[in-house]
Symmetry: C3
Subunit: 338 residues, 3 copies
Amino acid sequence: MKLGELAARLGCELRGDGELEIRGVAGLDEAGPGDLSFLANPRYAEKLRATRAGAVVVAPGHEAPVPSLVCDNPYLAFSRAVALVRAQPRPAPGVHPSAHVHATAVVGDGVHVGALAVVGAGVRVGARSVLHPHVVLYDGVLVGEDCELHSGVQVRERCRLGDRVVVQNGAVIGADGFGFARDAEGRYHKFPQVGIVVVEDDVEIGALAAIDRAALGETRIGRGSKLDNLVQVGHSVTIGEDSVLAGQVGVAGSTRIGRRVTLAGQVGVAGHLEIGDGVVATAQTGIPSSVEPGAVVSGYPAIENRAWLKASAVFAKLPELLRRLRELERKVESLLVR
Amino acid sequence: MKLGELAARLGCELRGDGELEIRGVAGLDEAGPGDLSFLANPRYAEKLRATRAGAVVVAPGHEAPVPSLVCDNPYLAFSRAVALVRAQPRPAPGVHPSAHVHATAVVGDGVHVGALAVVGAGVRVGARSVLHPHVVLYDGVLVGEDCELHSGVQVRERCRLGDRVVVQNGAVIGADGFGFARDAEGRYHKFPQVGIVVVEDDVEIGALAAIDRAALGETRIGRGSKLDNLVQVGHSVTIGEDSVLAGQVGVAGSTRIGRRVTLAGQVGVAGHLEIGDGVVATAQTGIPSSVEPGAVVSGYPAIENRAWLKASAVFAKLPELLRRLRELERKVESLLVR
Amino acid sequence: MKLGELAARLGCELRGDGELEIRGVAGLDEAGPGDLSFLANPRYAEKLRATRAGAVVVAPGHEAPVPSLVCDNPYLAFSRAVALVRAQPRPAPGVHPSAHVHATAVVGDGVHVGALAVVGAGVRVGARSVLHPHVVLYDGVLVGEDCELHSGVQVRERCRLGDRVVVQNGAVIGADGFGFARDAEGRYHKFPQVGIVVVEDDVEIGALAAIDRAALGETRIGRGSKLDNLVQVGHSVTIGEDSVLAGQVGVAGSTRIGRRVTLAGQVGVAGHLEIGDGVVATAQTGIPSSVEPGAVVSGYPAIENRAWLKASAVFAKLPELLRRLRELERKVESLLVR
């Protein structure tokens, strides 16, 4: 694709030769003459000067030694360029002969059902959605339009996915929540998990993530939210729109997470809490109680991030602090007996 | 089902109209006129007064504005009511024609083997057990009676499951333990993992949990224990009866966990330890050494829970503490030079 | 196998009756008369004296009450003995009739493709490799010689595995990395992940581990490294040779991990860091910044291990420390007003 056409499609200002043919995409370090690259983080501005890329996407104010596409959000523009330059072949519409699609299932126009997939009774799959090999949809599942479910994904009975939902390999949507009633002898009895999971439009769910169905009502993942690999979402949790849960995050049952929340890697959130809109929790934070909107929290148990950073700095000095305390105690004793 | 019949089946005292028809189950907030609801946590007693439920299960001493079933353990009684009112259709007995069941495998009466399941040589599956689609049982696996293995579950060679075991989607039972011998050049060589996993009766294992086979003997999950999603159990671990491991807990190899132990979410337990009966570890606790029976532990490294709560409260004040220490040092110096 | 033959094959010194027939392998506690056992950890030397094993592998300087094989690395020698005595039957070469192997895929001599496996277009599988049932290889995947991929493993498009790679059940290699560009309205847009994963020779990957493909270039797991269950490796991460990542470790995107690094269970490493050769991080460590080669780190945020051990010991005493500080403040005030 010519650089000029890319500029037009991405809505970027073109600086330099629009006839340049772009054949690939790469980082600033790896890019060669036919590649488009980008500068999003000003920290790497030096790499821009040394790049061998054919062209780059940059923000206004950056001078590139090669033809460039200029726009306010170079990372977003470049990500769109990747989709244009490295367009992935879409599996052809049709149902693979080895797939098992129940007679009562309804599959929309242009849907691809891969080898050995299982589509249960009463399932509906919207137009142009792709089920890769070995996907299993239990009875009554609804999948919207333009979804992509990778191999090994399991969706349990009656769960519902919106449009443009992407589910990476091996994720499990709608397994039973972890609910047991204890009897007088201390034995646990299963609380039947008869609720469902609702995944709204434009959500992405990572590989081997587990989103449990509600005991009675529904577990809900809000529009546009992104969940990374190996994330655990307990039963009856709700997550607002445009929130991000990074790898290995765990959220216990019935907690309500707001909009535009960011939970970094390995964060844990206890059950029955309210996590306000815009909350950010840094990696490995453990959240035992509700968090006000807009707060940035860290640590275990979670406290305000700046307070945690300062306290952590002192933590490493605790042995010295104890020594100084003992020294003071000695001095004060000597003063008291004077 | 009529409320009176439910009362009889659950062994509850009936207050109000036994002819009331119960058609659904729901939480106090969501329940409508045909629904049964419940109050288990007295914290929500106010919701009871405002509920629109048709009937409720409550403990003695709670006055409900609607017909009620009274018993000592409302949560347990309600969970049984859910099973009665929302009975899930059981897959019909029989082997799906697309399943691959080895000629030497023995499948009991009333067993369901789903589409594309694989049942290896010498496997035995007890009466009435259900293997959902895409379950894989390696050679020599034993599965007891009335088990339910959800789609995507993998059980490795020679592992044994008792009766009434439930395994959620994608869980892996019996993968090789993490054992390697290091040579003089610092390279790792696989220690063949020739042991097995034994899962006793009434155990439930969560989605995408991994229970490793022992190197030589067996890994064992005790009767009635419940393991949540994404739990990791290392080789040769033993877990006693009626223990609970919440989501994303990890237990390293050869550790022995007692009876009625509770490990909350994301807890990590080091290898070769003894965790006594009745131990409770709060969320994200890291346990580096053995724990006495009955202890409640928290933190990383784990200490007694109350001590940890107090120390954590001081942690947030560490910068202030350091400031006060410096102030004292100044004052004491001034006193010393008087 | 006779003990004398084992000695010869393992390169150990034989002490005692070489005609002894070894029929099994077991730990010192469990071993019976026909079993070979071993002593690797001198802590268990007492068990050696009491063992009922038929023979043992020990290091020089240990006196065993039974015939023994003596060598410098008894654990390594014993692990080789296990492979000889308990040799696992290898699945017979051939493609199961229910497997779907694309016409353009090339499968080497002696390869086993199990039931219901899916092998995509252009895939190459090297000689003697084993694909267990339900393995899915997307188009363009390369698998080397003598690999073993257990049931439920998913390998995404164009990813490459070297020789003698072992992948435990359900692991996902090459799912999309977690990359999204945020627009001015705060919505996330997928950054297409067009890179790959390269797994070098002699790597083992645990059950339900997730190794993400790079956004643009490659994610790389170095020769001989071993990754345990439920490990998360973000996009564009590189791991050097002979490193070990224990269960539930998470490594965020673009981080470079050196050679012979050990990350213990549940360790988390932030993105875009350099973790030097030989670094050791103890369990649950959270690493927010780069680590020098050879360092041993602990805690959250990670600090030098010995400093962390000392500080952790003081942490538990924080309430007492605060009390002593207050007491001092009172005393100093009384001195100041004298």
